[in-house]
């Protein structure tokens, strides 16, 4: 079974620039999550999708972050404009359904200078 795929692995941008991350979940997984992991901290949920609908985006900074999941499969997370405090690893995870264990990708490490 192929795991959760994310790209790019690394991204360096200047503040006020925009950036986008891509995630391809495990085939057949209906639930997709984006987490932000700041260095030295545990992951924090940004947004949860069930198929292509949003279940929870209460911790997503909506003035600068946006996410979509077209056709209930792949997902993109965008930051525009980026701030220094957005430097973190952005992890995508998927699960078969809401109550199943999460499977994480290896993340995209974002550095904002």
């Amino acid at each position: 079974e192929a795991g959760v795929a994310q790209s790019p692995r690394y991204k360096i941008i200047e503040k006020r620039q925009s950036v986008a991350f891509w995630c391809n979940p495990i085939s057949g997984h209906a639930t997709l999550y984006w987490y932000q992991q700041i260095l030295g901290q545990g992951p924090k949920l940004l947004i949860q999708f069930q198929n292509n609908g949003v279940v929870d985006d209460s911790q997503l900074p909506k003035d600068r972050f946006s996410a979509e999941r077209l056709k209930g499969v792949d997902s993109t997370l965008k930051i525009q404009p980026a701030k220094l405090e957005d430097s973190a690893v952005y992890l995508c995870a998927s699960s078969l359904e809401g109550r199943s264990p999460l499977h994480f990708g290896n993340g995209t490490r974002l550095t904002v200078t």
Partner: protein
Amino acid sequence: QKEVEQDPGPLSVPEGAIVSLNCTYSNSAFQYFMWYRQYSRKGPELLMYTYSSGNKEDGRFTAQVDKSSKYISLFIRDSQPSDSATYLCAMKHPNFGNEKLTFGTGTRLTIIP
């Protein structure tokens, strides 16, 4: 006060020793408890998944939950250098449909050969 507290370490122990990792939490609504292992530059992978109080054993790993004390533990027996990683505790409410995990900050563990 954070909902989940975890000593960040670092923790170094000799190969073969028993390792004890712990988390405390403040929200009595948490019912599901997990331990994730995260290698450097990788995503978290699920090690143990337990519901409510009690013990669960899987090979060299044992997870304990004490809901009365709001305290969970992960024990690693016969520790190996390959166990060197960051260990994250995570927990969630029984709110089906919204599977938001709350993570601890992670404990960085090094097993010394």
